[in-house]
């Protein structure tokens, strides 16, 4: 999927078909009943060329909650995540249908600029990918391109506070001008989180953020996710069910491109309604 991403970006966004008229109207609240809906998706399908990768996904992401997406490899959870900030637009052969709305506004509508959308919906990737720049410039990159800081002092403050939020400040405060690529893997990933936070997004998408990290670095990131939840809405894709159970409030289980089950994390892990979910979390397949 993401690995086969070609270099070129299509000139226009992937074409979006009109949602079927029979689709449910978008609701502001769902069965869980607590908290406002940040992202609502209805009948989201994704095609890579001829191949359909996601089938009619209906999923609501709640504000200031951590939503975990689990499932076996190739089940479409990363593909779904990349729909939320229209990252799939960068893949020429990828086509998304259905409706995804952020705070009630369709992210595929003409009124939404993809650049603004991505500023509101930050992303942290599977492999830490700091730019080959200094630690400072890595974090200042987003604020600079969006003109967030009006002075050098303000930019310094943003860099400091972002590093603080990502729990990295103590380790790097005296070497902000050193290259970000020189940090350890876990530090690089926290740098990437700080970089995402610096743009002041509302939502942070995390695509298996700990898969390349050792257990100690993983524990730090998980702590961090819990702290960030206060101010941000987080969607995390993970291979580790323990991680999903530890950090998330709501969990969705994907299998073969379908959202099999979605609900409170506790309920998914203790009392799954679907046989496939039960099979996966008890380790019978996947």
């Amino acid at each position: 999927m993401a690995d086969s991403t070609p270099q070129a970006m299509p000139q226009e966004a992937a074409p979006i078909s009109e949602p079927p008229p029979a689709a449910e109207p978008l609701k502001t609240s769902t069965d869980s009943g607590n908290g406002a809906v940040k992202f609502a998706s209805r009948k989201v399908c994704v095609y890579y060329g001829e191949k359909q990768a996601l089938f009619d996904v209906d999923l609501d992401v709640l504000k200031n909650k951590v939503t975990a997406l689990i499932g076996p490899s190739g089940c479409g959870k990363s593909t779904y995540l990349r729909c939320l900030n229209r990252m799939n637009d960068t893949i020429p052969i990828c086509r998304v249908t259905g409706e995804i709305s952020l705070d009630g506004v369709d992210i595929h509508s003409k009124a939404v600029d993809v650049v603004h959308l991505r500023a509101r919906v930050g992303m942290v990737f599977q492999k830490p990918n700091p730019f080959p720049k200094s630690i400072y410039d890595n974090i200042a990159y987003g604020p600079r391109i969006h003109g967030i800081a009006s002075s050098k002092g303000e930019l310094d403050d943003i860099v400091q506070s972002s590093l603080e939020k990502a729990g990295l400040l103590k380790e790097v405060h005296d070497r902000l001008q050193e290259p970000g690529t020189g940090l350890s893997g876990g530090q690089q990933q926290r740098l990437c989180i700080a970089r995402a936070v610096a743009v002041e997004p509302e939502v942070i998408l995390m695509d298996e953020p700990c898969s390349a990290l050792d257990p100690i670095a993983t524990a730090r990131i998980e702590e961090l996710i819990d702290e960030l939840r206060e101010n941000y809405t987080i969607v995390i894709v993970t291979h580790s069910m323990q991680q999903a159970a530890r950090v998330s409030q709501r969990t969705g289980f994907f299998h073969l491109g379908e959202l099999v089950e979605f609900g409170e994390t506790e309920q998914i892990f203790t009392n799954p309604q679907d046989e496939r979910t039960q099979g996966y979390i008890t380790g019978r397949f996947g």
């Binding site: 993401a2 991403t5 070609p6 270099q7 070129a8 970006m9 900030n85 990252m87 960068t90 020429p92 650049v115 603004h116 959308l117 991505r118 500023a119 509101r120 930050g122 992303m123 990737f125 492999k127 990918n129 700091p130 730019f131 080959p132 720049k133 990159y141 987003g142 391109i145 969006h146 690529t181 990437c192 970089r195 995402a196 743009v199």
Partner: protein, 460 residues
């Protein structure tokens, strides 16, 4: 002809050796190949090597020494008065003897003495060849028998064959290195002879280039001035103009190809761009001289600028077009090599495509791009044909691109065209220029390779 037959015979013997060795090893193994140390093929190669290497070595030695030995013997048989002739006359005589022996035209009257010498030359060569043939053939057969005799289950044929193969590989790679050293040395020795005639200071810092020297003492002619500065300034001026064209055009086309172009567009446009690199420089030369230069001159006349019909501008621009593919294909490679994760990281922060290219991709690829620029630059400095045709021969010391200038390579060409006497500073100056040029491009290449290597470490 005889030699070719001998070589073919040896080759056939070698091939026979291979099959003999292989079948011998199979029969030694008596049906169980696991008993052998190596696969049967290695025993074949083993015998073939024993058969071929000594024989071919002797043949090669004979071929390289044949002429010297035979000629020495022929001279020794000539009368003492002839032997006492100066070396140049003696060489002429030897030439005649050789021509007479092979039935070519002879430059003098054929007297009995010459006739006898020619016959002697012929018979010596024949005897020599027969001796060589006998020695090589018996060596080949002896090697064949010896190698075959050595074959046994315990013989480590594979290891020995691989040792020989390794020696061959080392020899092949040494050839390239030795050739480079040879070229440098030949340049160096002639340049030293030049610097004995003209002081290095005058050559390096002189401002006038006028290599014509009087041939005879009473001739009216210039004394020859060998200041290389106008040549190097001309070279730099033209290279600079070329880089001004190729740098932006190459880099921007690389950015378009790697970041914006639709894959189908890229598949068509990239090969077309690279065709530019395949056009012979002579073709660029007359394109420059017949199309671009008149165009510039006329355009210049239209706006009131005086552009000479052989201008640095025309040569530089065409050379720039020629090296666009160097810049663009190396830049394209390094831009494509920037990990996709960098682009996604940047897009994920809400950066536009042009922001991503300017602030993330180009900086990440910069060392590689610089390396590409330097390689293109050294190509531009060494380019000859375009400049010969379009920039002229006048060694003007100027930075005005509208005037005619000349370059180091052009002067080397004009100095060495035709028959030249190798004791005049005029001819030897070409070697000094060549040496300087070699040093400059070598430095550029070393810097470029260093920069490119440094870039490689970044993502690994």
């Amino acid at each position: 002809m005889q030699t070719a037959i001998l070589a073919v015979t040896l080759a056939v013997l070698t091939i026979i050796g291979f099959y003999m060795g292989r079948s011998r090893s199979v029969s030694v193994a008596a049906g169980n190949l696991r008993r052998l140390h190596s696969l049967p093929g290695y025993y074949g190669y083993y015998v073939a090597l024993w058969c071929g290497i000594p024989a071919f070595a002797v043949l090669a030695t004979w071929l390289s020494l044949e002429t010297t030995i035979v000629e020495t013997l022929v001279i020794a048989s000539l009368p003492e008065t002839t032997q006492a002739l100066p070396e140049s006359r003696l060489n002429l005589l030897i030439n005649d003897i050789r021509n007479l022996a092979s039935g070519n035209i002879v430059s003098r009257e054929v007297d009995p003495e010459l006739q006898a010498a020619a016959e002697r030359y012929q018979s010596l060569r024949q005897t020599g060849f027969l001796a060589a043939a006998a020695v090589t053939l018996s060596l080949a057969i002896a090697g064949l028998a010896w190698g075959r005799r050595l074959i046994g289950p315990g013989l480590k044929a594979r290891n020995q064959v691989e040792t020989v193969v390794r020696v061959f590989l080392i020899v092949s790679s040494t050839i390239a290195i030795l050739t480079t050293i040879g070229i440098v040395l030949s340049l160096l020795f002639e340049a030293i002879r030049f610097f004995a005639l003209v002081s290095p200071l005058e050559f390096l810092f002189g401002l006038k280039w006028s290599p014509q020297t009087a041939l005879r003492a009473d001739q009216v002619g210039s004394s020859g001035l060998f200041g290389a500065i106008p040549l190097f300034s001309g070279t730099l001026l033209i290279s600079f103009i070329a880089m001004c064209v190729a740098g932006p055009a190459g880099l921007l086309s690389a950015v378009y190809m790697s970041e914006y172009a639709h894959p189908r567009m890229r598949a068509v446009a990239k090969p077309i761009l690279e065709i530019l690199a395949g056009i012979p420089t002579v073709v660029y030369g007359f394109f420059a001289a017949l199309t671009v230069a008149p165009f510039f001159r006329n355009t210049g006349a239209g706006v009131g600028l005086e552009i000479s019909s052989e201008s640095a501008l025309a040569a530089g621009v065409v050379m720039g077009i020629m090296i666009i593919p160097f810049v663009s294909s190396i830049s394209d490679d390094v831009i494509t090599a920037v990990p996709q994760a960098m682009r996604e990281g940047s897009y994920g922060l809400g950066a536009t495509r042009s922001e991503t290219i300017r602030q993330v991709i180009i900086p990440a690829a910069l060392p590689g791009i610089v390396g590409g620029f330097l390689l293109a630059m050294s190509r531009a400095i060494g380019e000859t044909m375009i400049v010969v045709m379009a920039a002229g021969l006048a060694a003007n010391l100027t930075v005005n691109p509208f005037e005619a200038v000349t370059t180091v390579t052009v002067q080397i060409v004009t100095l060495l065209i035709g028959d030249q006497e190798f004791d005049s500073a005029k001819t030897l100056a070409a070697f000094a220029l060549g040496l300087m040029l070699f040093c400059v491009t070598l430095c550029l290449n070393v810097i470029a390779l260093h920069v490119v290597n440094k870039y490689r470490e970044q993502y690994e």
